[in-house]
Amino acid sequence: MKTYEAINDRIESGKAVVLTADEIMDYVDKKGLQAAAEEVDVVTTATFGPMCSSGCFLNFGHSKPRIRMSEAWVADVLVYTGLAAVDVYLGCTQLRHGDPANMYPPGEFRYGGGHVIEDLVAGKTLQLFALSYGTDCYPLKEIRTYFTIQDLNQAIMVNPRNCYQNYNVAVNRSDHTIYTYMGRLEPHQKNANYCSAGQLSPLLNDPYYETIGVGTRVWLAGAQGHVYAEGTQHAGGVGRTPEGMPMGGAGTLALTGDMKAMRKEFVRGVSFPGYGVSLALGIGIPIPILNEEVLRRTCVRDRDILAPVVDYGSEYPQNTGNVIGHVNYEQLRTGRIEVEGRTVEVGSLSSYYKALEVAHLLADEIRRGDFRVAAPISPLKKDTKMKPLVKRESPR
């Protein structure tokens, strides 16, 4: 048994023993669970992939004369201005003004909110254009100017949903090619795509949220951020394997961090033809090894984690909840899976390579004493289910 304080003391003294989630299994096999639990202080987990519920609050400071922005665009991407005068929220899936979207399908979606966030973090100069109705205290009605992230008072990433605990494997049973957020899916289940870091993924290494909760310090694209709430659509109460691995989406995290401290290699705008734009993020979460049980759970391997295979040709869009079957991540990583008796080629939208890089960067920061673990101030719920949107004909 170790406490957060004891682990932080070891981190501060530069003596912490830190392993990544892909190194820990062999280490525990070699040393034994009990000895390893005494020795290891932290296991680092990570993920890198598109996370559509991401965005940021920006504060521009006040112009002379002042403006209370009622509509605004950054690099021609609409931002939300229903806040105080010069605060805006920029969402990563917002399209650039004038983008034809899917008018001539599949649309290209070359630039949007995710790309603006990438450009901000990369230090590029961007245009702000804002309009206002004008007030006695905020008389200016229009402004066009150019800025970088350093000119802003705050650029705070606030992501309502990141780090899905597990995710679907997408196939297409229809007779035509479809374009989805899970990529291009060929007809008759010719290919499949998955999107999870599997054995490296944060919430798969802490399936019952014993150490990851509200208040946990996280590595958000290089910045030290934290979990500010349970993520939207958090549903800890999904079906699980006897070992506790969720067999579908399950838990999610709402994360925040200072964009000025982020690294551009881990903040990437992405375009999905026929679907839209998003933002890919690199996220690392340390798991403090408080006891043997916590350590045992970080030893999860790809073969122990099952992902549901879902038909995005019909079942997903119609929200039937039907699942074709389950495959494990070890099978997915071979590039081929069996679905309904036939071999299907598999690609990944989540980058294991980048996730591994994040896990090592975070481990190095902890070893250097630059990243302390934080105890959650409240736990994530383990029993909630996701509610659907019910279409009612009249108010109840």
Binding site: R184, N191, S271, A280, R333, G335, G347, L349, L356
Partner: protein, 140 residues
């Protein structure tokens, strides 16, 4: 084909003025090269590009290249019609099943790093259309 034959991937750049000349015809007819064109955009009155494999003896290929150079054509020996930006690539592996010749593949099963073998590329441009990160682009 004798044992001395080799295959080289080349890219020709044609400035505006050279696009009306039957250069490939002469490579086949006079220099005895086997030509396999992957991709071409050669339109009269516009600049043009051609990415091809040429097969023949070293001497014949050199003769063909010397012939091509008598025109105002630039020969690029690495045949880079498709350019992959290593820095923009996130190594997710999404492209791998979509690449018919497997020029893009997972190099190392532990790190899952993506390798691009340029000589395998047939310039189908599938990667350019599907890469979410825009890591692959075309020279033309």
């Amino acid at each position: 084909m004798n044992k001395d034959t080799v295959t080289k991937k080349l890219m020709f750049y044609f400035p505006k003025c050279e696009c009306d000349k039957p250069i490939i015809y002469h490579l086949v007819k006079d220099h005895h090269l086997i030509v396999n064109i992957f991709r071409a955009k050669v339109t009269p009155e516009e600049e043009g590009y051609l990415v091809l494999d040429v097969t023949g003896t070293e001497a014949a290929i050199q003769g063909g290249i010397d012939f091509v150079k008598t025109f105002n054509v630039t020969v690029n020996y690495s045949g880079k019609g498709v350019i992959r930006d290593e820095e923009r690539c996130s190594h997710c592996g999404y492209c791998v099943p979509y690449c018919p010749p497997r020029a893009l593949k997972i190099e190392d099963s532990v790190t899952r790093k993506i390798a691009y073998n340029e000589s395998e590329c047939i310039e189908c441009l599938a990667c350019i259309r599907i890469c979410p990160y825009g890591a692959c682009t075309s020279a033309f």
